[in-house]
């Protein structure tokens, strides 16, 4: 149905106000910098180093490599989970390195690079709740963060679950610790991180083995950004073939880190998902 004149005037006014520079390689090289949107709260993809107060992480290192290949300076902009795609669509960031899951629904809105991380979403429960399998959570209160793929995935796997969402995953974890819900759902890497953060109390918690979903995380570019996607994929392919990509993965996810993965189970070579 077509919108009325007033509403279209408002929409046009809003889009003018929010117009940023449309991301393409020439414009970025002209500016001399690439604005990369990131979360800064999702260890080890992007998080704030407590000593230097800089944002560091797996996706930050990838972003730095992309900026190096383009010959520009990377500028990182911290944004909220729910704001990632709108910021990219409105041109306020040129690239997203913000733990964005590549799925079919989002393909209509943004372009995705080669998937840089294959992970899943899992549920963390208190051992005292006696829950050992995912289907025991049917009809229970489940806590998670707003604006991501967690809630739709929970409802797909457990349609009768009562999902309560919070602005940050830290608040959702606090609510789990206080007993305000039966389970806390988040990306596997974030859960491993939280385990380490809880410290000694981690003995009272368990991560259920079943995956609620498998997710391919990728960098996101504005829709129909032909040459920027080519440039980003070229950098990723270079890192993969030289073995640097695997080294970066092991640096942030490998043995000795909080995630403590023994090896990498995927390659950075495809931007296709089911």
């Amino acid at each position: 149905m077509r919108i009325s004149l007033l509403s279209s005037a408002v929409a046009v006014a809003l889009s003018l106000v929010s117009a940023g520079v449309f991301a393409d390689v020439a414009a970025i090289k002209n500016k001399g910098e690439i604005v990369i949107g990131t979360l800064g709260t999702d260890e080890p993809n992007s998080f704030v180093d407590p000593k230097t107060r800089q944002i560091i992480g797996y996706e930050i290192d990838l972003g730095n490599e992309i900026a190096k290949d383009l010959g520009v300076k990377p500028v990182y902009k911290q944004i909220a989970v729910a704001a990632r795609i709108p910021e990219l669509q409105q041109g306020r960031v040129d690239l997203l390195a913000a733990s964005l899951t590549h799925n079919k629904e989002r393909e209509a809105l943004v372009d995705f690079s080669y998937s840089v991380l294959i992970t899943g979403q899992k549920a963390m429960v208190k051992k005292s709740s006696g829950v050992t399998a995912l289907d025991q959570l049917a009809g229970e209160k489940i806590l998670t963060v707003k604006g991501g793929t967690q809630e739709p995935n929970i409802l797909k796997a457990l349609p009768t679950a009562k999902v309560v969402t919070f602005d940050t995953s830290q608040q959702a974890l606090l609510a789990l610790q206080q007993g305000k819900g039966k389970a806390f759902v988040d990306d596997e890497s974030a859960l491993n991180n939280d385990f380490a953060k809880i410290g000694a109390g981690a003995k009272g918690y368990a991560i259920l083995p079943e995956n609620l979903s498998t997710e391919a995380l990728a960098l996101a570019l504005p829709k129909d950004s032909g040459d920027l996607k080519v440039a980003v994929d070229k950098t990723l392919a270079r890192l993969e073939s030289s073995g640097e990509a695997e080294k970066l993965y092991l640096k942030w996810y490998g043995p000795g880190t909080k995630s403590n993965q023994a090896e990498r189970h995927f390659k950075i070579d495809s931007d296709q998902v089911e």
Partner: protein, 243 residues
């Protein structure tokens, strides 16, 4: 808008009414609206008596009671509602005895904390309005009541308050409007009210314009109803008095 793809522009201007009028997303938004209305009504019912009580505390002849009322109003008013919400949801319930706490957490702790925070916050503002209304009534009315043999509370109840509340309705209506808008803050503690549902619909469908247009018009409609009630009250009671 230079350089923005024509597809994106077309999508921005494509307003999908069907989303708002029927189907799953319409139901979500409607349930959010119902919960917002419930929150506002329950809070209003709880906050008005509390506000009256605090106002009477501040006006009482007993000094310690005055200090109590003053402390309540100043401490609650000067802290943002968002901080109140987070306090009553994350911090305060932890001090309850364990069994009561377990029972509470299994139930609707989110809505309950939101109502407690909203009630205390709204009552602080309303009590000031009620106090001003009472002070607008000449002191001779209270003295006349005392002279007739009524105690402080009885003369308040029978003589001063009926006159004062007539004066106070206008500022109380504006506090009710504030309360109605403040229910949207409950979204930060996970209450599934209107703004929360609008955000959920937006995340699920990526149609921000439609979902927030629904939320805006819902807030506007109820606000206009509340203002209409105030106008009707003015017309019906206050005009008659000034004749």
């Amino acid at each position: 808008m230079a350089g923005r793809s024509p597809r994106v522009l077309r999508e921005m201007l494509d307003f999908d009414y069907s989303l708002l009028l029927s189907g799953q997303y319409h139901d979500m938004l409607l349930s959010g609206l119902m919960l917002s209305i419930k929150l506002a009504c329950v809070t209003l019912v709880c906050a008005l008596p509390l506000a009256l009580f605090i106002a009477l505390l501040r006006l009482s002849p007993v000094r310690p009671l005055q200090w109590l009322g003053f402390a309540y109003v100043e401490s609650i008013r000067n802290i943002p509602l968002l901080a109140h919400m987070l306090f009553w949801y994350f911090a305060a319930p932890e001090f309850l005895p364990e069994s009561f706490r377990e029972w509470l957490y299994a139930g609707n702790i989110e809505a309950i904390s939101a109502i407690v925070a909203l009630t205390l916050y709204t009552a602080a503002f309303m009590s000031e309005d009620i106090r001003s209304g009472i002070r607008a009534i000449p002191i001779v009315q209270l003295e006349a009541g005392r002279a007739l043999g009524f105690g402080y509370l009885a003369s308040m109840r029978l003589v001063v308050l009926p006159q004062a509340l007539r004066v106070t309705v206008a500022p109380l209506i504006s506090q009710t409007l504030n309360l109605w808008k403040n229910t949207s803050i409950a979204t930060v503690v996970g209450v599934a009210e209107l703004m929360y549902q609008a955000g959920q619909v937006e995340t699920a469908t990526f149609r921000s314009l439609e979902s927030f247009a629904f939320a805006t018009s819902a807030y506007l409609s109820v606000s206009l109803l509340i203002t209409g009630a105030a106008a009707w009250y003015q017309h019906r009671y206050v005009q008659a008095k000034s004749r």
